[in-house]
């Protein structure tokens, strides 16, 4: 099932980049998608789900919002004549479990205000995050856990 999903996505992706959504073109994409999936067939055991489209969209909007916000924040820091922030690397305790969730979360964190994922511990329990303003680690952790992490869990639940 999940493979089929990916397959459809790939077919559509083909059509998207080719800019032609005719049946013919989508079926060409289907063939190529088959090829592409065949290539990565081993790794697909990890599972890909994109069923909860509403939650996905919600996550997307949050993400875009956060991205813009984060960029503005960075911009302010950059433009400020004095560099007076106090960065640091903090440890974020992960609630999400699967690789896909962790990955999604980590990437979202990277693209959002003042934080950047550095690494995930081997037991997948801790995400180390570099924060541009690390004076209040607890606040950052709380923000993430109530923001992105919650939505990610919703999407994948």
């Amino acid at each position: 099932m999940k493979i089929f999903t990916l397959h459809i996505i790939l077919s559509l992706a083909w059509a998207a980049i080719a800019g032609n959504f005719s049946i013919l073109n989508i079926s060409v994409g289907f063939v190529f998608g088959l090829l592409a999936i065949w290539l990565v067939r081993e790794q697909l055991g990890a599972g890909v789900y994109f069923r909860k489209s509403r939650k996905i969209i919600s996550l997307m909007f949050l993400f875009i919002y956060e991205l813009v916000l984060s960029t503005v924040k960075v911009a302010i820091l950059v433009i400020k004549p004095k560099l007076d922030f106090e960065p640091g690397i903090i440890a974020y305790p992960l609630a999400v479990k699967s690789d896909l969730e962790i990955t999604l979360l980590a990437n979202l964190i990277t693209l959002t205000p003042g934080t950047l994922s550095v690494d995930v511990s081997d037991d997948k329990k801790t995400l180390y995050v570099h924060a541009i303003d690390a004076t209040d680690p607890a606040g950052i952790i709380a923000d993430i856990s109530s923001g992105f992490e919650r939505k990610v869990i919703e999407v994948f639940e």
């Binding site: 059509a15 998207a16 800019g19 960075v74 950059v78 511990s121 570099h130």
Partner: protein
Amino acid sequence: MIIELIIAALIVIGAAFSLIGALGVLRFQDVYVRMHAASKAGTLGAGLLLLGVAVASAELGLITRAIAGVLFLILTTPVSAHLLARASVIAGVKTCDETVVNLIDGKYSENGQTLDSEK
């Protein structure tokens, strides 16, 4: 006319973000902080400019392609930032003097192969 204005706005803002990112890369104190500037401002700047193309071209194929481009960017940028940051930590690239906390320090095994969890 509106379209043109939107395009103009997109590209000027996009370019401005890009410049800010670049400035951040130049100004910030250490590689980790610079990474913030690069990954965020860089992505948004380039993304906005691609959206500008999407609007300007007014052609379905190009719009989908431009959006695909933005997606690709969002997919790849955090990965490279993560990998570079991780490698830098393992390689012992120093954080700047202003750094207040470094919880990852000492969590890597001797050869950098394993990372312990914060308990």
